[in-house]
Amino acid sequence: MANNPPYGSSGPPSNAYAVLTNLIPRRSSYASVAAGNLNTYNQSLISTSRPGTFSHLANPNSPSPSYSHDQHSNQSARRSHRSSETDTHMHDNASVPGSWGKGSLGNDSGQYGFGQFYGMAGNEDDANGGDFFVPSYLRHSKHVERLHQAHEAKTTAQREAPPTQAKGTGALSSRSSNASLPKLAPSHRGMTYEVVEHPPPEDNGGLTPLPSKWAEADKNQAIEIGPDGLEVHFVGGSKMHDHEGAATRTDHPIPVQVGIYYYEATITSKGKDGWIGIGFSGPKVSLERLPGWEPESWGWHGDDGNTFCCQMTGKRYGPTFTTGDVVGCGINFMTGSAFFTKNGVHQGNAFRDLKDINVYPSVGMKRPHAQVTVNFGQRPFVFDIDDMMKREREVISEAIIATDISSLHSHIDENSFVKELVAQFFAHDGFVETAKAFADEVRAESRALEPDVDMSHSNVSIEEDLDGTNRQQIRAAIMDGDIDKAIKRTHAYYPQVLRDQSQVYFRLRCQKFVEMIRQTAELLEPHPAQAAKPLNGHGEGHMDAGQTEMEVDDPKNEVEEWDKMEMEEADISVKYTELLEETIQYGQELKQEFQDDSSREAAFKEIFSLFMYEDPRKSPQAHLLDRASRVPVAEELNSAILVSLGKSSSAAIELLYQQTEALVDILAEEGGAGALINVRKDFLR
């Protein structure tokens, strides 16, 4: 047992009708699958040929390797040289409480999942998988926010993948490894389909994590790294030449996207003569020197207090440092400068003109007994870097507010310009009543100012917008789930849209299919999990405390609910079968109509996979049945209509938002001032 797909407990049904009639009795097998072993489950799925109805609809290509296999091989690929400890390792971690999700963005000091360093010290590539910390001064950073999201998505996916599979994601599993679907090429991204309710993980390749520890693979052999990955000490001999040294670098380079980067090193033991260098260096710099002695490396040395900038000759900078001192090193990518601190005191700028650098935190030492422990932000810093960051952010924010924006509205004043933006938003997005009220109030405002003057020339004119009303009605129909009505109206008012924009038409048709599935599913009782419950539990079931999150609360459903209660059980059963047949027929017609277009495959697979589940509302694809899923459909149609009328597909304010985010992102990419701006946090909240 336990290995059967939902529809196959008593052997695969041979035709469409068998699928239909088997739907309800399937329940027991569903439960057993839920409890079952996922790997064997997937294997049995592969060996089971797909039953009649579904294989008509879905891509008939035979499924290839199971999803779970794919997933693990990708995991191990990402773990590169650690390929041997694959899935077992992963599952072990998932079962250790507290292993995941430590150190959230809002965290203050002290809560940093620090212990992970011990637990996973041997697993180098787990740096952004196991432990995640946010240095306090980077709490606003957009880059760190992204890292955090990627981390969350990854851990969530890892945590949820096994149970999700056990619930029977057969169709999805084979789908995500199906070679005929380039968009769903086998990669870790396949996982995003399993956890769609979460933001999809960022492509880690594009995001540089923060340095989190010293890298075993990137150190001089005369240096030994402590078990926490943060402490280093000198293990070489005492006979090093003057120009020799031993250095180490971190696991990741410093991401310039943070704008300002800072770390601190505590000199736990100065060694024989305090010959220790703290700084940063490029990836190829020799590790047989102290930071600062080589091109592409910069450092401050404790023995003489000098700074070294890519050469053996030092420059007078500050005091010496010795055992017990905390030395901080900061890089400001916006100004291209670097500074050091000693025991919380800023020592002034050390280097300038740091352009286009790709560097790692680095320490170097050359005498026995030297020992240094660093803090990359896992713990609070001695120097008040938070305050420095705050002041930098204030300066930028003042500059932004002081920016002259008159270039945007040469022909009218700023207020009228903003009014136009707002009015266009209402008109564009179909807020008809709001648009009218706004126009009235703007007119009243002008009249108050100059009762005698005709203000129409300098004013926002919003006419009674018949077009807006039409679009609003179409949107309302989609939001009510009445796709037929929406299609009919669109045909009547904007016949060219559905003709010319086949993608929009296709999406409407698909939505109609989804709505049919939803209506059918609503005839089932609300608790598919309580399999033992007879069919008549549906009425109050919706209301009681055990209601599921799948419950939809729009008024329409209540009506349907009522209708349902009026029906006898037998009627429901008949109605269910009828609806299901209708839905399948509609699906087949849909498939036929668009069969020549291979670009529709992915969409077909997604919506037809709803057939896989006895109650699609409890399936991994349940989000398709959400009321919220109607919004993008309504918006796409609205945009298509607007474009067909020669207007912009997006409201100006939406473009403003989108463009601003993109611009700020680009500015942050180079470590510019954009790095200190988090558009959503700073400007929209």
């Binding site: 790709n358 933006l421 706004f438 703007v442 912009s648 304010i653 463009q659």
Partner: protein, 264 residues
């Protein structure tokens, strides 16, 4: 310090900007909140109410509290500064006491309105304006050179016939002064509640322009499709005949970005 070219990071290209644009997920609820913030702060109560119901969101302030601010704005727009001051004191008794500059601006506007209503011909009687200036403004002006200068400039209005007003004084009689003062009052009423004086929308516009400038400073080409506001001209072309004066050039540029953004 110069570094070898091998370490230089990739310069963002036009391509990466387009990629970024595609990646940005515009949150509808953020957009709605942005617009609601505008309606609230700029004082459009009935639009705010309709918007709350049409967009199915919570209004940020009650209609009544927006209405109170609208009443103050309208009083100032009408030139009825006395009633505006009374209403402000009702709403926030400490505001004008704490913000002397704002109080003086209101009183000076009141003086301007008195002068306007007294008429500006040699036959009109300027006594009420002079009385008001000496009792209300004079004592305050002594404490602050800027106040004094503003007062003197305003009093100069009395020396000219209206039709002969030199341009630098004519601006005092411009209705724009009412708009400016009303805006300052509105911002002050808000600063009491939240720190920012501007609407989120206005801040976002500033940020856009600022980012554009930084972009250009970094010697990066700014594609025309980043000019979101051209959408206005574009959309208004068909149905707006009251002289938006959208230049032909702007309109051409606008139709192109619309097409590009659509792909995004």
């Amino acid at each position: 310090m110069t570094t070898s070219p091998s370490t230089s990071i990739t310069t963002p290209s036009r391509h990466s900007l387009e990629r970024r644009l595609k990646e940005v997920k515009v949150s509808k609820s953020d957009l709605n909140a942005l617009v609601m913030d505008y309606l609230d702060r700029e004082g459009y109560p009935s639009a705010a109410q309709k918007f709350a119901s049409e967009a199915n969101i919570q209004p940020t302030s009650s209609v009544d509290s927006i209405q109170e601010r609208v009443a103050i704005r309208e009083a100032i727009y009408r030139g009825d500064i006395q009633s505006a001051i009374e209403r402000i004191n009702e709403l926030n008794p400490m505001l004008l006491e704490k913000d002397e500059t704002l109080h003086f601006a209101l009183l000076r506007l009141q003086l301007v309105e008195l002068i306007r209503s007294c008429g500006l011909t040699s036959t009109d009687d300027p006594t009420p304006a002079i009385n008001f200036a000496t009792t209300e403004l004079g004592p305050r002006a002594e404490t602050n050179p800027q106040f004094l200068e503003d007062l003197e400039r305003t009093m100069t209005l009395l020396m000219f016939e209206q039709k002969d007003l030199p341009p630098q004084y004519a601006t005092l009689l411009d209705r724009k002064l009412r708009v400016d003062v009303a805006r300052r009052v509105n911002e002050a009423l808000f600063t009491e509640q939240v720190e920012r004086t501007k609407t989120k929308l206005s801040l976002l516009i500033h940020l856009h322009v600022w980012a554009e400038q930084k972009f250009v400073e970094g010697n990066k080409e700014l594609p025309a499709y980043l000019r979101f506001w051209h959408v206005l001209d574009n959309d208004n072309q068909g149905n707006d005949h009251d002289g938006m004066q959208s230049s032909g050039e702007a309109a051409t540029m606008a139709s192109e970005p619309a097409a590009r953004i659509e792909e995004v």
